[in-house]
């Protein structure tokens, strides 16, 4: 037998643009006029605000414009919707040299990027996230996805947009709830890889979450850290996720991802403290920043330890009764079990840890999750 290994395809580069201009002037960096046809897939709730402003700018290119409004709800991340979009592109004779522009939060970005990635094996894509979570997460690592029959984000691809346009000013019209989800994601990246980012966030909290130039710096640093971590292992960004995903499921998805992950991070920090990986001082300092950023640091009393631990055993890092965690020994330093990439703990140990944690009144609020939802 003969054999050889080969890299068949070269990498694509993503161009990240970070703008704080009110009139979206940074969009002029993108040569829209190079494209014969431009398809704008957007959240219909933004039709008369950002989409109107952005399409006015794109119109100057004299390209043939197609506007495709979608509902910004989780339900649209389905194969049915993918089919509709693919057939629309086919009927409109969209070619590989045309452009798709996606405007919206995570849901719209996930779906439209997935469609862009599989139409003719990839049409050029410009992503314009309109939420902080969209800027920090959905558009920054080449992930695109739709849901399976039962599993969230089951189906997807890795695909690089041509440009990601992040404008801080666009975030002004998003709500506090959505801002908090994004900050939770950003805080996680700070813990995983950048003391500088943690310092920025400390300052941002002191400025009452209202320092725009600082937010721009925060975003840039977040995306740099994210790309660095992505290359180590996609699962590294799972800090707080083993707990967080379980809480999310246990709440029947009433708790948003960011809120679930931030309390998951609290649990991970507490566990790191218990294992003496981090000092009491660092622990307290980090929890203070989380409080100041208004991140969710609470578990709901109604959640059941046994069910939560069972859910944690199903986590993609876990193996049987060994539950896998991304825990820290310091900012940017990940705890490992011998010969493994992450830390593995026995389910029984995790169960007794959680039982103890539930007695800690700092982390328990009755009906807290419902309050999180209402508190938009």
């Amino acid at each position: 037998m003969k054999k050889f290994s080969a890299n068949v395809i070269e990498n694509q580069k993503v161009n990240f643009l970070f703008d704080d201009s009110k009139n979206l002037s940074g969009l002029s960096d993108i040569e829209f006029k190079k494209f014969k046809k431009i398809f704008i897939i957007f959240d219909q709730a933004l039709k008369n605000s950002w989409v109107k402003e952005i399409s006015e700018i794109i119109k100057k290119s004299k390209s043939e414009l197609h506007l495709i409004p979608l509902k910004g709800i989780e339900n649209i991340k389905s194969l049915r919707e993918v089919e509709k979009l693919l057939y629309f592109l086919e009927e409109s004779n969209c070619s590989k040299n045309d452009l798709i522009v996606s405007i919206g939060g995570g849901t719209i970005l996930d779906l439209s990027a997935f469609v862009s990635s599989i139409y003719m094996r990839g049409v050029k894509l410009v992503m314009i996230p309109t939420t902080l979570m969209g800027q920090a997460d959905a558009s920054s690592a080449g992930k695109t996805c739709i849901n399976g029959k039962q599993t969230k984000n089951l189906v997807g691809s890795l695909f690089m947009p041509l440009y990601v346009y992040n404008n801080i000013h666009i975030l002004k019209t998003a709500d506090k709830y959505s801002h908090r989800q994004g900050l939770s994601e950003i805080f996680k990246y700070g813990l995983l890889g950048s003391k500088k980012l943690i310092r920025y966030l400390e300052q941002y909290a002191r400025d009452s979450l209202e320092n725009d130039p600082l937010l721009l710096k925060i975003l840039i640093e977040t995306i740099k850290v994210r790309i660095k971590l992505r290359k180590i292992d996609p699962l590294v960004s799972n800090l707080g996720h083993t707990f967080g995903h379980a809480f999310e499921s246990e709440s029947k998805n009433l708790v948003a991802h960011g809120d679930a992950i931030s309390v998951g991070i609290v649990c991970s920090l507490k566990l790191s403290l218990k294992k003496r990986y981090i000092s009491k001082k660092l622990y307290s300092q980090l929890i203070k920043i989380m409080r100041d950023l208004n991140l969710n640091i609470n578990i709901d009393k109604s959640s059941n330890v046994e069910r939560v631990v069972n859910l944690m055993k199903k986590d993609k890092k876990s193996d049987g009764d060994q539950i896998g965690f991304v825990l820290l020994t310091d900012i940017g330093k990940i705890a490992k079990t011998k010969n493994k990439k992450f830390l593995f703990l026995d389910a029984k140990y995790v169960s007794s840890f959680l039982t103890e944690l539930y007695k800690d009144k700092d982390f328990l609020v009755t009906n807290h999750w419902k309050q999180l939802i209402k508190n938009v």
Copy 2:
């Protein structure tokens, strides 16, 4: 505004295995036992032959086996079939660490590789092509696809299999018709990038297309050339395609892709000769090899020059009345129009060239296309 560009994802390597053992012993290179679950998606026509032999070998891994038979017809390359397969994987709790093995010709490989590429953003895949076209083409450049509503291969992704297992012995059970399609593809890669491959093919024709060790060498060289060309430009491999795709459409897809492309190559060589890019000697030598390989070098009389030229104007390399061609000035050397990657010729010129060509009796056979189909 601030900006930066970044490569977000590292490349994956593909392991190509080339085997000539009758008992498929080369498969032992693949550590099947590392996978808890293995899903074998295969052409049901091979159930009692290769699939049986291969699954006997895989069974030794003690992994949980799931057998998924499919019809090896073009119709299955649909979103409906993709949905069925995705939901089957979801219901079977297929995880990102499980394995999909795909066994069959181009149709089965295209569909199952597409599903592998989008389930959980990519499940590990072993491809076992059972036709020469499958080995030389469908499995060698990370392409995966399904059809659109009207357009063949409209939807797809770029995705690297973990292993491609090419066994020459498996090809013995494929028919001559399918062998000819593969040889046509291989001849094209020879012209585009490897004098060595053309020499091999000359020898292979002399050995009545029955020299197995040589066929193994041919395959290895083909895949090396293919990967080299892929990195220059995916469209480079379009030699013969501007003519060939038009003939394919004009025959209402009665002519198989390989047969249409090989006569497309003849037209391209004739055009290169007319433009004095290549010598009469090289032209005659190449046509002789094509004849000896039993490749199709005939256009059907029933095809209409005007319709063919109109179809050529729709080719993805064309731009209005300027028709784009991959033409050669020598083996491995591509003719270019100034500042362009390929050669552009006016539709009128192409039309008069074809009209002249149609008078050449060497290239005209009545009802030839129907004979090609029957001549399995």
